[in-house]
Symmetry: C2
Subunit: 183 residues, 2 copies
DNA sequence: CGATTCATGTAACTTGTTACATGATTAG
DNA sequence: CTAATCATGTAACAAGTTACATGAATCG
């Protein structure tokens, strides 16, 4: 069984409890989305593959709707534990706002501060959205619960970046360096 | 001309000065790599497309080696300015180390702190690598130069995450909550 | 002169998104 | 009854990586 990135998210989600593909997608969108997304186009085919490989199996469907709830098999639980014990490999960012900061010099000396302002705005909004999720999750949440920890990371991270952008934009707006002032 | 993410990196790089595909790759690897990567498989075909669309053109090749140095045309410069003036859209992360933190509860109560330790280590190493690049770039660098600003962002960001992981791992190792202590 | 680096390029593959199709169930 | 939501799925596409092929120039 070839393992791919998406398979680990699915195994992890089923490690939290039995779920259908639809529920996995909802859960991802409300939690790992900001650092690891997944779409139906990945989830459903991957569920099938994992079931064929014997890592997960269809649980008895509950409720009136036709749906397939999956759960981990012992093999799947083992695979999840193994993956968790392995050092992480994928560490990627694609941050267009930072790319614009990087190249902003081309649009003149004031453009950098503006690019930083825009980046800041994005992170403020994201932090706010995450705080809304946190407020929902807060009731009875154990602060040491790992999923909650990841959420707090998202908030802290976005707050930090917003602050950094603010400070840096201010520095960019300060009077130019001695060399330039002398000129 | 359909614009795609890679085309903007190339236009931006050529905005810094005429470059060959090979040089673009080197430059990316030494700068935007940690927030926006690019491979030869993207760069060379895209250079051809941009040249056909008239946004860039082959400059007179300098030096003994056979190579093609590209530069922006006025149209390309305009396209770059336009892109810079537009709000950023792509904002993605794929952070496997955080995913492991998120799911770590499955591997027992101690696993979260360990996952945080590992994540911390990664960011310490990255910060160190970026500092090495900074040390190289430092001679005569204008602190308000935008490319330098992005580099400092990378360092600050990785330092922050490393610290956050340290604090959070410590909190995870503290005695459990009242509820559990009472039990 | 042999190894390394410079330099360009492509084919096969992996990964992921978007948009659509389908239909059942539930809420108002 | 009809609109929204639940639920599963796929096809077409977009994006990006890896690995390889090729050959010239340079360095020791």
């Amino acid at each position: 069984m070839e393992s791919n990135p998406t398979s680990h998210v699915i195994l992890g989600m089923l490690g939290l409890g039995p779920m259908s593909g639809y529920e996995i997608k909802q859960f991802v969108d409300g939690s790992t989305r900001f650092f690891w997304a997944a779409s139906y186009g990945q989830i459903y085919p991957e569920l099938r593959r994992l079931a064929e490989a014997g890592l997960i199996e269809a649980d008895a469907p509950q409720g009136g709707r036709r749906r397939t709830v999956y759960k981990l098999t012992p093999t799947g639980a083992e695979a999840l534990r193994e993956w968790l014990a392995t050092p992480a490999q994928t560490q990627e960012m694609r941050d267009e706002s930072l790319l614009k900061v990087f190249f902003s010099g081309f649009a003149g000396p004031d453009a950098t501060a503006l690019a930083l302002d825009r980046k800041r705005e994005y992170h403020l909004e994201t932090a706010e959205r995450l705080r809304a999720i946190e407020a929902d999750a807060k009731q009875g949440a154990d602060p040491q619960d790992a999923t909650y920890t990841a959420l707090r990371f998202g908030i802290a991270f976005n707050d930090f970046v917003a602050d950094w952008c603010e400070r840096e934009a201010a520095a960019q707006r300060e009077p130019r360096s001695e060399k330039e002032r002398a000129a």
